[in-house]
């Protein structure tokens, strides 16, 4: 199969060298089965070793290689060059995040948010080991399973205008993950998570644009998770008015 050549317009940002990001174009010959990440690896190895970006698994599992491809947040390992050819491809760092260098964004804020929703099973009382494991029925697993497929690729944050306007917003992936544990039959941590999820910077900032769910490569549907946490929180709020003594 004959090779074709495609142009990649890649955002470059070298701190202390330039104040604003610039664009560098690379003409890359490519075989039919190359994805955007293959082209970046080719640039890094053969053309310009100074280009920086994150990647690891090349198969849509690790969530490292998220970038803006022609303005859309994508896993660069999952988009084929042939689908864009013969037009040039614009490759930018994920929107809405601070940029460290070239295509590398600062994810520390995201990691703090992930931790803040306590994404682990919280028990009122741990069972002793001798009593065995916490059993779960297929239906109980079904309740949360698809919300647990998140690979922390942050595409949803890049698609979310609310996060773009307010970097303090807890955001789609973190709220969906908190909700995943709220839904888990083994978990008792809903009230504890509410402090973060039910805060002004939690669910209530979301205006249900819905783009997070559109771009999610794992079909986690964080938009649904956020709205359902709103329903649960509002219900509990009304209950706490009607029965103030009933609070856990």
């Amino acid at each position: 199969m004959s090779e074709r050549t495609i142009t990649l317009d890649v955002t470059r940002y070298r701190p202390h060298q330039e104040a604003v990001p610039t664009v560098q174009s690379y003409a890359i010959p490519f075989p039919d089965d190359w994805v955007v990440l293959d082209a970046l690896n080719h640039i890094k190895d053969q053309v310009d070793g100074s280009l920086s970006y994150r990647w690891s698994c090349r198969m849509g599992v690790c969530g490292s290689c998220g970038m803006m491809v022609n303005g859309e947040p994508k896993l660069s390992c999952a988009v084929f060059l042939r689908d864009y050819f013969p037009r040039a491809i614009r490759v930018e760092p994920l929107s809405n995040f601070p940029v460290i260098r070239d295509l590398v964004i600062d994810m520390s804020g995201f990691l703090d948010k992930l931790k803040s929703v306590k994404p682990w099973i919280i028990r009122e009382q741990e069972k002793p080991l001798s009593e065995g494991e916490y059993l779960q029925s297929p239906r109980e697993l079904d309740a949360y399973q698809h919300f647990s497929q998140c690979i922390n690729c942050m595409l949803c944050y890049a698609a979310c205008p609310v996060f773009g306007l307010d970097s303090g917003f807890v955001g789609p992936a973190a709220i969906a993950l908190g909700y995943r544990y709220n839904l888990d039959s083994r978990d008792h941590g809903t009230a504890e998570r509410r402090e973060v999820l039910g805060d002004h910077e939690g669910i209530w900032q979301c205006t249900f644009v819905g783009e997070c769910s559109v771009v999610c490569p794992k079909h986690v549907d964080p938009a649904a998770a956020i709205q359902r946490v709103k329903v649960d929180t509002a219900k509990d709020w009304i209950l706490s008015l009607v029965m103030p003594w009933g609070q856990r």
Partner: protein, 139 residues
């Protein structure tokens, strides 16, 4: 395209322009959905003012009805209707995501939930229309 904020650590902070919602079709449709509320509330204020005329005598009432017959107000109500219908359809679809109906443990498909709601909406609208025509005028 994006503004800079200087950062001592050398990070580049992109800032979102106020016109972000004009840059993508889905964002624009979202903003239309949100702004439909303005036309709906605007219509309801006009309706309330019209109702208020009833107790202000026949002249005031007739004047208000005459005003609503002007092309400008017909146009306003046409636009408001378009936004209201857009609100209804988007509302039913988003409700299918927020509060899905479960049949034997399975979520109803979103398109089906939306379609059922549109059917119910048509029914409710018909009932209101019939009541409007059938209720006796004297209170």
């Amino acid at each position: 395209m994006m503004a800079t904020r200087p950062d001592p650590a050398g990070l580049y902070h992109p800032a979102m322009p106020a016109t972000w919602w004009l840059r993508k079709r889905s964002y624009f449709l979202f903003m239309l959905r949100e702004l439909s509320s303005v036309f709906i509330a605007g219509f309801l204020v006009v309706l309330l003012l019209q109702i208020a005329q009833i107790s202000s005598g026949e002249d005031a009432r007739a004047a208000f009805s005459a005003m609503l017959r002007s092309p400008g107000w017909i146009l306003f109500h046409g636009v408001a209707l378009a936004f209201a219908v857009y609100h209804s359809v988007t509302w039913f679809y988003t409700t299918s995501i927020v509060m899905p109906l479960r049949v034997r443990g399975r979520e109803l498909p979103r398109w089906l939930f939306t379609a059922l709601n549109i059917g119910a909406w048509a029914g409710v609208s018909l009932v209101i229309l019939i009541l409007y025509l059938a209720l006796p005028a004297s209170a």
